[in-house]
């Protein structure tokens, strides 16, 4: 894992130093004299050989220093810490909503296997994976903001609403903890459209996985035994079928994370959601290489950790793996 993380720093570092725009020039502004640019380049070590710059970068990393953003002029670590909760809130709700809907559809599909209901269920799942998130986001804005006016166009809170004091950084949680129910409603209504867009992808992937595993579980002998014991259908489903069918859903969490990362990137951009995706997007477009590097690194590191947790969780959830 350490090797992989080191590889990640190597890839991001060399990628972002090949950026066509000159960071020192961008930072100094269009009217800067060549001397001032050279000075900045010297301050940030941009005049050193790449290998030296990389060595410095690794040294900084070991002290958890991700450098300074040229655009916000704050440390990238502070920036990421500021923007991460917004993304976590968005992705968290999308994961929950998508997952719950998927369990229902997948179970119904599996029980009615081969019927028109099943085909419809599968079609909605593949549809969920096929509809481009950026297009769906625009359609939802068109329908629910422009036409019906039910939900706001974007952002996390309406203008003029002061965010509740930061406890978790999740606005829906913080507003409830501080008892500001009006703000909760406002934050929730801002969440509806972006969460719907993101949840659809989660739903599509999960339905496919869970449906197959429910079908597998239904064919197992322990299910037949449970039915023979006279357990109610609901109890068999809850205790025996779903519990076993959830295992494969855990294994695709890594895949899910990758899907959500892509979705967050696009959805935050359309809904002007002040999260990590939007931050990375702006950093890329401003050739803000410390910020691009930092954000990409943090996303990749989270991805590596999620995959590690999945491996460990799988070992724990399925004892057979140990003997295999």
């Amino acid at each position: 894992m350490v090797f992989v993380l080191w590889g990640v720093t190597l890839v991001t570092f060399f990628l972002s130093r090949v950026v066509p725009g000159d960071p020192a020039r961008l930072m100094a502004g269009p009217q800067a004299s060549p001397g001032a640019i050279a000075n900045l380049r010297h301050i940030y070590g941009l005049d050193k050989p790449l290998l030296v710059q990389y060595g410095r970068y690794l040294g900084d990393l070991s002290r958890l220093n991700l450098g300074v953003s040229f655009v916000t002029r704050r440390s990238v670590r502070t920036d990421i810490a500021t923007y991460l909760p917004a993304t976590a809130e968005l992705a968290g709700y999308a994961l929950i909503v998508g997952f719950l809907l998927a369990v229902v559809t997948a179970t119904v599909s599996a029980y009615r296997r081969g019927t028109a209901t099943d085909v419809t269920g599968r079609l909605t799942a593949i549809g969920g994976l096929s509809i481009p998130a950026f297009w769906l986001a625009l359609l939802l804005q068109l329908l629910f903001h422009v036409q019906l006016g039910w939900f706001p166009l974007g952002g996390r809170l309406s203008p003029g609403v002061t965010p509740p004091s930061q406890i978790t950084g999740l606005l829906t949680v913080d507003s409830l903890l501080t008892g500001r129910f009006g703000d909760f409603a406002d934050a929730a209504s801002h969440l509806v459209l972006p969460v719907t867009t993101l949840a659809l992808g989660v739903y599509g992937l999960m339905v496919r996985i869970i449906r197959t595993s429910v079908i597998d579980a239904l064919g197992e002998e322990y299910v037949r035994t449970a039915e023979a014991k006279g357990l109610s259908r609901w109890r068999v489903l809850r205790r025996h079928v779903l519990r076993n069918a959830m295992l494969p859903a855990v294994t695709v969490l890594g895949l899910e994370f990758g899907l959500l990362a892509a979705g967050v990137f696009v959805v935050e951009s359309v809904f002007q959601w002040p999260g990590l995706g939007n931050y990375t997007f702006n950093a890329i477009h401003n050739s803000d290489y410390s910020a691009t590097l930092g954000a990409t690194l943090v996303i990749a590191a989270m991805y590596v950790v999620v995959n590690l947790i999945v491996d460990i969780a799988y070992l724990y959830l399925d004892p057979r793996i140990r003997y295999a």
């Binding site: 081969g114 422009v146 951009s269 691009t292």
Partner: protein, 307 residues
């Protein structure tokens, strides 16, 4: 005598070709009849390929032809999909965009399949340090969420369609290397490969003659599963201004342009997006169906067969 031999040979070839055609037709027939969704997939993909091939022939206008007397017109008999802010016909632009998406998917997947399978076969056959080295390289690329890596690469190279294509090929190839290597590891122990080796077959002969052919079906299924994702990623990157730039009629780029007119010209974003979604749906259905069709273990879960 030689004439006769040639005629016999020609006849044999014709019979073989006819037999192949018959088998292919039967295969398509059995694929379609297996599930209702497979038929839908074949229909959509056939339509997309036809439009990509012949779209410009049926387009009423050039996709870049402005007409200032018809700006921001809704869908009508003259402009089926409406017009944009400088009067370009969106139907013609969507047709042109179809060809771009199909071409882009073909190039991305050709590049990654070529590189991926070659490295996979080398890795699987060579073993040892070579294998270790190639696998660690794939680890590096697989450590990133694919779309994020593609976005970073496209941004680094500078936003343009060729750079997006390259970025996505970089993201896709390691998957093909892994897939091929796994297949080769099991194939190389099989009797027919050992027999070929005993008969004096060199490594290159075995790789091209036996391994490539046997890896091909599973790679084909993976390609069909990836086409939709390649098209989706390309258009998403274009939408984020990291890929094709306006005035290109790439679907993501059209939608970016139309976004500023969301309130006044709904058709500008809605219709190209619908074409995009339908195309991706068609390829995803096809990939899904092919996978279930080829993998007999999954066959029961298709919906056509009842327990």
């Amino acid at each position: 005598m030689t004439d006769r031999a040639a005629a016999v040979e020609r006849g044999r070839q014709e019979r073989v070709a006819a037999e192949r055609l018959r088998r292919a037709t039967r295969a398509v027939g059995s694929f379609i009849s297996q599930s209702r969704l497979n038929g839908l997939a074949v229909a959509i993909v056939a339509l997309v390929l036809l439009v990509a091939a012949f779209g410009p022939l049926i387009a009423p206008q050039s996709p870049d032809q402005p007409d200032l007397s018809f700006i921001l017109q809704g869908p009508s008999v003259h402009h089926w999909f409406g017009t944009d802010n400088i009067g370009r016909d969106l139907f013609s632009r969507v047709l042109a965009g179809c060809r771009i998406s199909v071409e882009v998917a073909i190039i991305i997947l050709s590049l990654s399949v070529a590189l991926g399978t070659i490295l996979g076969i080398v890795s699987g056959l060579a073993g040892g340090l070579v294998d270790e080295f190639i696998m660690r390289i794939t680890d590096l690329f697989l450590a990133f969420p694919g779309f994020i890596l593609a976005a970073a690469i496209a941004a680094t190279l500078g936003p343009s369609l060729p750079h997006t294509v390259l970025a996505l090929a970089v993201v896709f190839w390691p998957w093909y290397t892994r897939l091929t290597r796994g297949q080769v590891l099991s194939l190389r122990e099989r009797e027919f490969v050992l027999a070929s080796r005993l008969a004096g077959g060199g490594t290159l002969w075995i790789a091209t003659r036996h391994l490539v052919r046997n890896v091909l079906p599973i790679v084909t299924v993976q390609v069909s599963l990836d086409v939709g994702y390649a098209i989706l990623s390309t258009s998403s990157l274009s939408f984020l201004s990291l890929g094709a730039q306006p005035p290109s009629p790439e679907w993501g780029a059209i939608i970016t342009e139309g976004r500023s007119y969301l309130q006044t010209a709904w058709w500008w974003t809605t219709i190209p997006g619908l074409a995009l979604a339908l195309t991706i749906l068609g390829f995803n259905l096809l990939g899904d169906g092919l996978r279930d069709w080829i993998d007999p273990r999954l066959r029961g879960s298709l919906g056509g067969v009842q327990e």
